[in-house]
């Protein structure tokens, strides 16, 4: 243990027999007193560095942080004035209205849909890129693999408008002639619900029953290949000596997979999984917006699109703001929770 002695900060003068403050302590005191001054001088000397930070901070403040001011509208009475700053406080009335009021059904439906879309996305969308990466590892020819990779990354770079346009057109039914995928599905099931939906005026995308499946398939098609990059990097990082050792021990292909490859990519998988859980609720609203109309709100309407619709119709902007705030707050808790778990589990912080 460190022990403080008086001659650390005092000096004994033998001639007079008195103590006085030591020279070192004077310097220490001086530094402490001038802490803010020296900090200021360091910053001023380095002003160029801080100036470089300014544009980014301003952009983020103006268009990422300033919108948060509008969240106050969730706690204010929308009837009292048009601008947030003039409205009167309303307590939690908006939230009560949202959870139990006249439009509560619509909100809970959107909330449930957000969760379901996100959960299915995790369930089906997460394992796919891993499988893809394991399969890519089997292709020993670099040229063949590169060609395949170029193909599977491609959808990621297409815009949502184009992807949804193609989806709607391929799954269309009814008045404009059935789309090619609808036709295929009709051939597979000549009668029944699928057949009916495929021939209905809007086709399969805009049917309550099949929207979720199509959304997930399109999601996998769009992101599957691109997401496999991370896992593929982990798979090829497995050293060849591990395979050799396993082969010498007589491990079959499946056993190599089970005991060599899977354990070595497990940490990547866990981190990516945690990350995915963290962003669970930020379902891409753009895609949902483009793939939904009044006929499939039952299964397609998510909180973001609902809130957008409420504000567009002008009726319940405050409720829309409150609804999305609830959604985003839960999302934030998930991210922070996931990050904490990741830190505990692997010592890596994702942010």
């Amino acid at each position: 243990m460190f022990k403080l002695k008086c001659d650390d900060f005092l000096e004994y003068d033998e001639a007079t027999g008195t103590y006085s403050m030591s020279q070192e302590q004077k310097v220490r005191d001086e530094t402490e007193r001038n802490h803010w001054k020296t900090t200021g001088i360091t910053i001023l000397k380095d002003w160029r560095l801080y100036l470089m930070l300014v544009p980014m901070v301003v952009v983020y403040l103006l268009w990422r942080y300033l919108p948060m001011y509008q969240l106050l509208a969730a706690f204010k009475n929308p009837a009292s004035a048009t601008k947030v700053e003039d409205q009167v406080w309303y307590g939690l009335t908006n939230f009560k209205e949202l959870f139990f009021g006249g439009q509560a059904n619509e909100f809970w439906r959107a909330f449930r849909n957000t969760f379901i879309i996100a959960f299915y996305g995790l369930l089906f969308g997460f394992p796919f890129p891993i499988i893809l990466a394991l399969f890519f590892n089997e292709v020993k020819s670099n040229i063949a693999r590169s060609i395949m990779q170029v193909c599977v990354y491609l959808p990621k770079f297409m815009s949502t408008v184009i992807i949804t346009a193609l989806t709607i057109v391929l799954f269309r039914g009814g008045t404009m002639g059935t789309g090619i995928v609808s036709k295929l599905l009709m051939a597979i099931s000549p009668s029944g619900a699928l057949h009916d939906a495929a021939t209905s005026p809007y086709g399969l995308v805009f049917s309550d029953r099949y929207f979720r499946a199509i959304y997930q398939i399109v999601g996998i098609w769009e992101h599957g290949g691109y997401d496999s990059i991370v896992f593929f990097a982990a798979v090829i990082a497995v050293s060849p000596t591990s395979y050799e050792a396993a082969q010498i021990d007589g491990a079959s292909k499946m056993q190599q997979m089970r005991y060599v490859v899977i354990p070595s990519i497990l940490s990547t998988v866990v981190i990516m999984l945690i990350m995915k859980v963290g962003t669970l609720l930020s379902v891409g609203y753009e895609k949902v917006y483009l793939m939904s109309n009044t006929s499939n709100y039952e299964s397609a309407d998510i909180v973001a699109t609902l809130s957008n619709r409420w504000s567009e119709s002008g009726g319940s902007t405050a409720l829309g703001i409150a609804a999305e705030m609830v959604n985003n707050l839960i999302g934030m808790i998930l991210v922070i929770g996931a990050n904490t778990v990741a830190k505990k589990a692997s010592g890596v912080s994702l942010y």
């Binding site: 801080y50 930070l53 268009w63 509008q70 399969f135 990354y153 491609l154 346009a165 090619i180 809007y202």
Partner: protein
């Protein structure tokens, strides 16, 4: 020594190849299909005769699209927004990431948190919309014109498209540059800007290319906010908004007939609905809009592959 291939290994290999080939084909098939449909006759497209190659080859859909001035105006708008928007985003992202990568920056953790928090929590669509509207009003006040008359391209360019992940990507790459090189430059009398320009930027070219491409692609593909902010101004629409509007307006694929005009009302004089299907035009528009991406894609995809792995965010 030749190793005997086991049955299980063989099966696994076959499954892998088949799966990959099928998936790879599925990934490109919709685009091939769209290309073929755009070159097929109206009758063939609507009755679904096209499978892979064009049926009853004709190029009337392209003739229609090429003479559609509004489409090309929106195309030019998108190009403009993509180029200028990417430059603007890169300028402040590069400088900000450089500053954040410096250990001597005071309050470095706070600045990082400031940035990362935007990834955790966003105010939501409605507050952002209200905020953009205010920005538009202020821009209108500066320009001295009413809000409906200002060119909202600039609002989209300046106020949208920021992405904290890209900043972090760049910051990590800058942190990887050895401090000795910077010190050497400093001793030679380089200023802060010169160090960024002559040391850091040349040394992290791959990441910078990746980030710039991320920005450019997201600009080129952006839809929602451009649509939401430019409702009345169809002369500054980007091409994505134009395509979607065309689909909504000209066909009954998305909206019921009563809400919009139909193809009969949209189609221009000189064309008849018999020869030209709205679907063919949609396909032709889609093909025209993806061509720029398809052209640069083979050259950039390796950067993306690299960029993602760098994105495995460090502590």
């Amino acid at each position: 020594m030749k190793r005997k291939i086991e049955v299980s290994e063989l099966i696994f290999k076959i499954v892998a190849y088949v799966f990959l080939i099928v998936f790879a084909l599925l990934c490109v098939y919709p685009f091939i299909y769209a290309l073929s449909c755009s070159f097929s006759s109206a009758n063939a497209v609507e009755s679904g005769k096209v499978v892979i190659i064009p049926v009853e080859f004709q190029s009337i859909a392209y003739k229609y699209v090429f003479t559609d001035n509004k489409y090309w105006i929106s195309y030019a708008n998108t190009l403009f927004m993509a180029v200028v928007g990417t430059i603007w985003c890169m300028v402040y992202t590069l400088m900000g990431a450089y500053a954040l990568s410096k250990k001597r920056l005071m309050g470095r953790h706070a600045w990082n948190f400031f940035l990362v928090f935007t990834m955790w929590f966003s105010a939501g669509i409605v507050p952002q919309f209200l905020n953009y509207q205010t920005t538009g009003n202020i821009m209108a006040a500066i320009a001295g014109k009413p809000w409906t008359e200002i060119d909202e391209k600039w609002l989209v360019i300046i106020a949208m498209g920021m992405n904290a992940t890209n900043v972090i990507l760049l910051r990590n790459s800058f942190e990887g540059v050895p401090a000795e090189i910077e010190e050497a430059a400093r001793i030679d009398g380089a200023t802060e800007m010169q160090i960024l320009w002559k040391v850091y930027i040349p040394m992290s070219k791959a990441t910078i290319a990746t980030v710039a491409l991320f920005f450019a692609i997201s600009r080129w593909n952006g839809y929602f906010w451009a649509m939401r902010m430019m409702k009345q101004q169809n002369y500054s629409w980007p091409v994505q908004v134009y395509i979607r509007d065309f689909i909504d307006k000209s066909s009954e694929l998305v909206k019921p007939h009563e809400e919009y005009a139909s193809w009969e009302e949209v189609i221009r004089g000189g064309y008849s609905t018999k020869d030209l299907s709205a679907l063919s035009v949609v396909y032709a528009m889609v093909i025209c809009a993806v061509i720029p991406i398809l052209c640069i894609y083979p050259f950039i995809q390796k950067y993306f592959a690299k960029g993602v792995n760098m994105g495995g965010v460090k502590e």
